[in-house]
């Protein structure tokens, strides 16, 4: 069975009396271990698709199955528990909590899985060490460089050992050298067996994946292997 399975999934937004079809009847399967990029111009529906795949939102219509859970009509609580266990996010803007130091930022998902604090700490420390930040545990985000912040975000995405990691323009706020390094981390993760879904508008970045899905106006335009 596929890890991700969408059938005729749509997401509409109602703005006034106008209906915006952010996603329009999308069919998509992603298998465990794949490295997929989603590309398309601005406003094409990339983020909307990622929000659905990442269980941040439920579709307006259609069938959506993620990691064996039918989430077509899921409640916010149901979505929250699936994304806590199965999904990690890496955002363009890092989205770290400014008042928390590295270790506490990394352990955040574990707080909501209800792990005892000693175990949280041990796992967060290991995740931080895995991204090369073992010596910056007590630093707060403002004391770190952009690349380091994004590595904290990756550690946080991985700490719960999820099956899928999403990146929404994860290199958008970084210089090209640092961006390269972050992309390399995604590649290494995929080599280790994680399913990776990257959202980007940059075909070069999409080129590092093995499958590119191009969308336009809320529909899948084409699919290709770079």
């Amino acid at each position: 069975m596929s890890l991700i399975h969408l059938e005729g999934v749509s997401k509409f937004y109602q703005v006034g009396d106008q209906e915006i079809r952010a996603l329009d009847s999308v069919d998509l399967r992603i298998e465990e271990g794949e490295f997929v990029s989603i590309i398309g111009p601005s406003g094409s529906g990339k983020s909307t698709l990622m929000h659905l795949l990442g269980c941040l939102d439920a579709p307006t219509s259609g069938r959506m199955e993620i990691c064996g859970n039918d989430l077509s009509k899921a409640s916010q609580n149901r979505l929250a528990s699936v994304r806590n266990r199965e999904i990690g996010f890496v955002f363009q803007a890092f989205n770290l909590l400014p008042r928390l130091d590295v270790i506490h930022n990394v352990e955040l998902p574990l707080v909501y899985s209800g792990l005892p604090s000693a175990e949280r700490r041990a796992r967060a420390e290991k995740a931080a060490r895995d991204v090369g930040l073992g010596d910056r545990l007590a630093n707060r985000p403002v004391q770190l460089s952009g690349g380091q912040c994004q590595r904290v975000a990756i550690a946080r995405a991985l700490v719960n050992n999820p099956r899928i990691v999403f990146g929404d323009e994860p290199t958008g706020n970084l210089d090209s050298a640092t961006g390269e390094m972050i992309l390399q981390m995604f590649k290494d993760l995929n080599a280790g067996g994680k399913t990776i879904v990257l959202v980007t508008h940059d075909p070069d970045i999409a080129g590092i994946s093995r499958r590119v899905i191009e969308i336009r106006d809320g529909k899948i335009l084409r699919e290709y292997a770079p």
Binding site: D57, R83, N84, F89, R99, Y112
Partner: protein, 436 residues
């Protein structure tokens, strides 16, 4: 999410905005300190008043007084013998709810011992007098039935009289000495203790000595008890009354006082009815007496305590409500500032109820800290009050009052956190993440 984690997050948030948090606590601090103070003050007044009421005879004390007959029925006046010993006997015989009956005769007399003499009021009483008037004995004994039966020349004197006649002498040494009442010699068989109000005791304990002039200016409810000179009823009658009114017998002499004690306070109304029924007969149906009870007086005291409690409680409640609104205001400002943080927490798997708990715990923590500051403020306030007015009934802070007030503050924090917490927990993760 664990409540301790929520508490940790909340405390960190409070610490990160110290000034704002303290501002939001002010209302709670005021509310809690005024609630505790009100409770302490009224508890103090209540205890002081209760103790005082007990000492002046309590609710059981009923005074049977003369009443003017309405002019329309004036011709009946002569029919009634007025208050006499027969009344006392009738009450004793027919009113089982009355435990003690104390008739008395009074006399303004010159009392003397050694080289001192003074004009004072002397009472002829029965042993019941000591029970009805709630007397204690300091040295010697009360008057007994034997004193009355035999018409002995025994006297029990109050503390004030003792110190006038024998200044500096101890009560034990006064017992057995001779006192002259209108030149008749009496033996002092007992000395009463010094009756005083709690506040006087405290003042004395605090080492404050007051000038006598200042003391005499203040109304002293125990003056009568402290200046008592008590002799047997029969002795009073035969020694000082029989000669002046030869037609009177001891049974028919008009009393100067008639007080009784109700045995069971829960049957107070029935007891009053029994007295009325007895006196109806002895007074031959003439309505020339009245029952003067402490009930109304006590009711008035109780209701004034209640009013103090109510107004203090109202002020405290209002400040707690205002404090709660303050917290709600701060929490709303705080969550709109933290939409993005909440979005991040939601994105990593927090559920709505985790966010709800976090906000509620934070606002309860603010209220709780405010409550503790309020307790400190109340303690300080009480000290200042005691310093300013040491003579009043000292405020008494009880653990119950403190717990109640802090609990009230916590409730205010909880209630005012609900709306902000609901709003925060209903945020949509995507729009919260996009929020700038």
């Amino acid at each position: 999410m664990n409540i301790f984690v929520a508490l940790q997050i909340g405390l960190r948030e409070i610490a990160a905005h110290k000034f704002r948090s303290v501002l939001s606590m002010l209302g709670i601090v005021l509310g809690v300190s005024s609630l505790i103070s009100t409770l302490a003050l009224t508890t103090g007044i209540e205890r002081g008043t209760r103790a005082f009421m007990q000492q002046v005879g309590g609710l059981e004390y009923v005074n049977i007084v003369n009443k003017e007959i309405s002019s329309a029925k004036f011709e009946f006046w002569n029919l009634s013998p007025g208050r006499t010993l027969r009344d006392a006997m009738a009450i004793k015989a027919t009113a089982p709810l009355i435990s003690h009956v104390s008739p008395e005769l009074g006399l303004g007399a010159v009392i003397a011992a050694q080289d001192h003499s003074d004009r004072k009021f002397v009472r002829g009483v029965f042993p019941d007098y000591f029970v009805v008037g709630r007397h204690e004995i300091k040295a010697g004994r009360f008057l007994t039935d034997l004193d009355v039966e035999r018409g002995l020349r025994s006297a029990v004197i109050g503390d004030e009289i003792a110190s006038i006649l024998w200044p500096g002498l101890k009560a034990e040494d006064i017992v057995g000495r001779q006192i002259r009442i209108n030149d008749s010699p009496f033996e002092v068989v007992g000395v009463l203790p010094k009756y005083e109000r709690d506040e006087e005791k405290r003042r004395r304990d605090a080492g404050k000595v007051e000038t006598p002039s200042k003391m005499s200016r203040r109304w002293d409810p125990f003056r009568g008890k402290n200046e008592a000179i008590l002799i047997p009823f029969s002795t009073m009658f035969y020694e000082f009354r029989a000669g002046a009114f030869p037609l009177d017998s001891m049974e028919s002499v008009r009393l100067d006082g008639l007080t009784v004690r109700v045995g069971d306070i829960s049957k107070f109304r029935a007891a009053l009815d029994q007295i009325r029924a007895a006196l109806e007969i002895t007074h031959r149906g003439v309505d020339d007496f009245d029952l003067d009870t402490r009930e109304e007086w006590f009711d008035r005291m109780e209701s004034s305590i209640r009013a103090t409690k109510l107004s203090g409680g109202l002020i405290a409640t209002i400040s707690l409500v205002v404090g709660g609104i303050g917290i709600m205001n701060i929490m709303l400002a705080s969550i709109s500032e933290r939409v993005r943080e909440i979005g991040i927490r939601l994105a990593v798997g927090a559920m709505g109820r985790d966010i709800f708990i976090q906000i509620i715990v934070e606002s309860v923590a603010i209220a709780f800290i405010g409550g503790l500051l309020g307790v400190l403020a109340a303690i300080g306030l009480m000290e200042i009050l005691k310093m300013l007015a040491p003579t009043e009934n000292a405020p008494i802070m009880t653990l119950g009052g403190i717990l109640f007030s802090v609990g009230f503050a916590i409730l205010a924090g909880f209630l005012s956190g609900i709306y902000p917490a609901l709003r925060a927990s209903r945020l949509n993760p995507i729009s919260a993440l996009r929020y700038e």
